[in-house]
Amino acid sequence: MTAYYAQLLANGIFAGSVYAMFAVGLAMVYAVFKFINFSHGELITWGAYLALMFCSPPFSLPLYLAAVPALAITVVLALAQDYLVYRPLRQSNPIAILIASIGLSYLMRNAVRLFWGSDLRTYELPLSEGLVIMGIYITKTQILIMAAALVFFVILYLLLTRTMLGKSLRAVSDNMELADIMGIDMKKVTITIWVLAAVFAGAGGILVALDTSMEPMLGMNSLIKAFAAVLLGGAGNIWGALLGGMFIGIAENLGMAFISPDYKDFIAFAVIIILLLFKPKGIFGIAGGVR
């Protein structure tokens, strides 16, 4: 029986590291631009589908090579989003930017349906045998997910704490206007944020699709988990979002021991509702759930 729970815990950690990747991107955008990017989920979907495109004819690249142009295009998409929609709206009503992000999300999701259809798709890789470590089954994909998430988070940590760029990112998220007055290059910061968010989302999308499958709602479903993680971590708190993502993944998988798998997604929702009731500022929340 312990092996069963250990298995669920392991699955939870793998799911959680991907949720954490999504949540970190969402939290970063929130920290700097102070709005919730509903179209973040579509960066996830596009990352996964673009990798599929470069995997299949006429490109027929192996997946690890296909991921490179896929991520590059995801980054371009994120920058285009910002340039065409979010930047012109930055000074306007907060509701305008939210509605625009919902519209953008819907536009991009339907574009996925237009290009690739609504069916479940996979990368059609040969099945690989799982490993058994202390009675826990782990697939190679899951190890890859773990390794990729670790690498990404270490790079992010080093970037934020060890470089001048990271310092300016943190300054901007603390107070955008003041940072601007102090001569921080806002353009560079904006681009960096979107590049990071898009790479995290796209890479996470590819990993999720590799582990299970992809469909146009992939991003939207993952985004809800990321929302829960960000709420858990507190507004715009990047490391809080990371821990929040891990927590949601583990809670969701351990919860399957107690409730029907049909309601697996309910656990993330329940976390959100309970938090809203008791801790509206998040568990790791610094002061400032109010925008």
Partner: protein
């Protein structure tokens, strides 16, 4: 002619639904992205009750009241959040409701939905009932419009606008903002539930896919396109959106391209939302005020 009746009925149901969202989004400034959940609660409640023998009108009333109750219960935790996070909470609530409709098979029929929902007795059923049903829906829409008009020009409506513009000012003026917002959500949910009940009894078949994110986008589009914070705006928006949707059916498209129609239509809706926000955030009918802040 029957087709015209059909379009008008759908337009009016959407008009009621869009107006109920407008009270929250346009007047109170609450970013409700999950309004479809209350529409669904009204529809399922009314359908289930009437299928088990309750008279249709009573079932619809109970459906609307249950939606209002759900709104009240939902608003207690959700209103502790401000701005964006309220939007996320509503969005998540709608997804929860959708999952519930989908998975609670013993109650809602799961993905198969609920067929054979009766029409109200006085309209009869089938095609010949359409004019009567239209009159019924028109009555409902007029009542909704009149009630919301009355509410929004009252001091209550003005208080909601102050809360939208600056919540701290409203508090400083001694307004109990939490109470006002709760009431706005309850009234909005009530009318959303009524619209859902009308929908269920008109279409006579509901399934969880009628209450998904897609419909949230549509109703949001109705409100934003028409003009939020006005009473005619959402009505106009509803007519524009429904007529556009029906118009697309008549574009001659070769059969091999028909699978592209729905995604392209969705892309168009998303694009219109973005363009409205960029170019004309006040909608077709702008809200009348002496000065615009933004």
């Amino acid at each position: 002619m029957d087709y015209l009746y059909h379009i008008l009925i759908v337009c009016l149901i959407y008009a009621v639904f869009a107006q109920s969202l407008n009270l929250e989004l346009g007047y109170a400034g609450l970013y409700n992205f999950g309004h479809i959940a209350f529409f669904g609660i009204g529809a399922y409640t009314s359908a289930l009750l009437s299928l088990s023998g309750v008279p249709v009108l009573l079932a619809m009333g109970i459906g609307a009241c249950l939606a209002a109750l759900a709104g009240a219960i939902f608003s207690l935790p959700a209103l502790r959040l401000s701005g964006d996070y309220f939007g996320v909470a509503t969005f998540v609530f709608a997804e929860m409701a959708h999952l519930f409709f989908l998975n609670q098979r013993d109650l809602t029929g799961g993905p198969m939905g609920l067929p054979n929902i009766p029409r109200p007795g006085f309209t009869g059923s089938g095609v010949e009932s359409l004019p009567y049903f239209l009159a019924f829906v028109l009555g409902g829409a007029l009542v909704t419009w009149a009630v919301l008009q009355r509410i929004t020009v009252s001091p209550f409506g003005r208080a909601l606008k102050v809360i939208r513009e600056d919540e701290f000012v409203a508090q400083a003026l001694g307004k109990h903002t939490f109470g006002f917002k709760t009431q706005a959500i309850v009234v909005g949910s009530f009318f959303a539930g009524s619209a859902g009940a009308l929908w269920a009894h008109y279409i006579t078949y509901i399934s969880p896919s009628d209450f998904s994110l897609q419909e949230t986008i549509l109703v949001l589009l109705c409100v934003v396109l028409g003009g939020k914070g006005t009473n005619w705006g959402p009505v106009l928006g509803a007519f524009a959106v429904v007529f556009f949707g029906e118009f697309v059916r008549f574009i001659p498209i070769p059969p091999e391209y028909t699978r592209f129609v729905a995604p392209a239509q969705g892309m168009a809706y998303g694009l219109i939302l973005i363009l409205m926000m960029l170019k004309r955030p006040q909608g077709i009918i702008p809200e009348g005020r002496r000065s615009r802040k933004c």
